[in-house]
Symmetry: C2
Subunit: 271 residues, 2 copies
């Protein structure tokens, strides 16, 4: 059988861990893949754990017991996180972002994989110590971010629709009132989408009053499931009264100043 050097194994194991975030991988998988002793693989893992600790780019946990193994948890250093959020605030302050009606043009940010990847790591970190079954979002703008958080947490994504689709089978629909516009809206979800008794987090791009979040909490009650937490990229703090109380955000938005520049800052929880 083929043999591999430590350097080669270390590179390959790093890649496999990154491709399987939050999943427990038994060491037997690696001993068989590399035709190496368990002690050898353990030494490889010490190297990987050590460099990840030094660069603060996630961590490798060891789970003991019969169903044990190792598990990679994505992470980002405080320095990188701070630099990223400051850069994003700078980007949001561009005057061409203000579009008619004093809305903030965010499409390019919400659909930019580089930004969404880092935002996903930051938001996922807030929930990595919880047992999450599903990441839930509402179409459309928050989908890439919610997908990235789900991928990083190693769980499935659920997308709530604003209409009914015949290709989704029987659905459960609820009406909810948008917190900012006070209009009645509908959201629906396929009955097959979530198992009873699931624990979910709700991820979205932008929070105004939190009416959508509250709607999701009520929709999930129909599935006998609960929301463990809420995470958004941007929180509109010009709306003080929120319909949901516990949530995390990356950026706080306070509206547009007299020079047509968005007033944004890093949320304090994100160092």
């Amino acid at each position: 059988m083929e043999k591999y050097s430590r350097n080669q194994r270390v590179s390959a194991i790093t890649k496999i861990l990154m491709e399987n975030p939050n999943k427990i991988i038994n060491l037997i998988y690696f001993t068989e893949l590399f035709n190496a002793a368990k002690s050898t693989i353990s030494e490889d893992l010490v190297v990987i754990k050590d460099i990840m600790n030094r660069l603060h780019t996630g961590r490798v946990e060891t789970i003991t017991g019969a169903a044990g193994g190792i598990r990679y948890i994505y992470g980002i250093s405080d320095e990188d996180s701070k630099k990223f959020v400051e850069g994003l605030c700078e980007n949001l302050r561009k005057s061409e972002r203000i579009i008619p009606g004093n809305f903030l043009y965010l499409i390019d940010i919400m659909y930019n994989p580089e930004i969404i990847y880092k935002s996903g790591i930051i938001l996922a970190s807030a929930f990595s110590n919880k047992h999450v079954d599903y990441v839930v979002t509402v179409e459309t703008k928050g989908i890439p971010l919610a997908y990235e958080v789900a991928r990083i947490l190693g769980v499935k994504l659920v997308i709530v629709r604003r209409d009914n689709k015949v290709t989704e089978g029987p659905t459960v629909s609820i009406n909810y009132i948008s917190g900012s516009t006070k209009r009645i809206q509908t959201m629906s979800l396929s009955k097959k989408a979530i198992k009873k008794g699931s624990k979910c987090i709700f991820i979205d791009d932008f929070m105004k009053a939190g009416g959508t979040g509250l709607g999701i909490i009520n929709l999930l009650k129909e599935f006998e499931s609960t929301i463990l937490g809420i995470g958004v990229l941007i929180d509109d703090v010009s709306i003080c009264e929120k319909l949901v109380d516990k949530y995390v955000s990356i950026i706080q938005y306070k509206g547009v100043d007299e020079n047509q520049v968005a007033i944004v800052s890093s949320t304090k929880m994100i160092k």
Copy 2:
């Protein structure tokens, strides 16, 4: 300054390459990060290139010249790809997938990060030698797949809407005729979303007659941009006459047999 061992550098460089797919990274970035000579980093890269070649999990390219450096291209071995597609076909054959109207329930597949990640690598591989500016999709079911392909190709995602949103600023809308139902539908895209003269690929979850793909080609004409190629996860080959001619798919779907089982097989182009 801190020093790192070869093992540690190899792990960290592997991680950085995977986090920056298709981006040219100058070796100076690594020499500064690890306080190491260029020749040392080059030797580290030989290790990484070698193991990726051996395991067929992507490749590291060297780009010479002033703007040169190295670039990581995601990949998947033929063996892994085959195993993955066969497993997916098996999954699609579950009888509980057939929902009223003889539709195939696909939500759990399209929103499963493990499946979407591998499908994304397979589809992205078909376009990795082309200069792609944007990955375009239409809401909703294809968004996670299109996002993953965009991330893997290191380019931005564009999501075409079926309605107009005030928060997207001025939009360009077109009407198109669905190839299978012959109904007139609308699609719209923010004027800011795509730069003139861009080259795009269209990624979607499911192709029937290809009416949506043709609509996207026409919509992009309004942006003086073109489609380089089309990639879908599932191609409904029971509809023989397609409105688009060049596309790649992973799985072919031929309808439902008398036992209420989906007739699916691996598309020949995917070994």
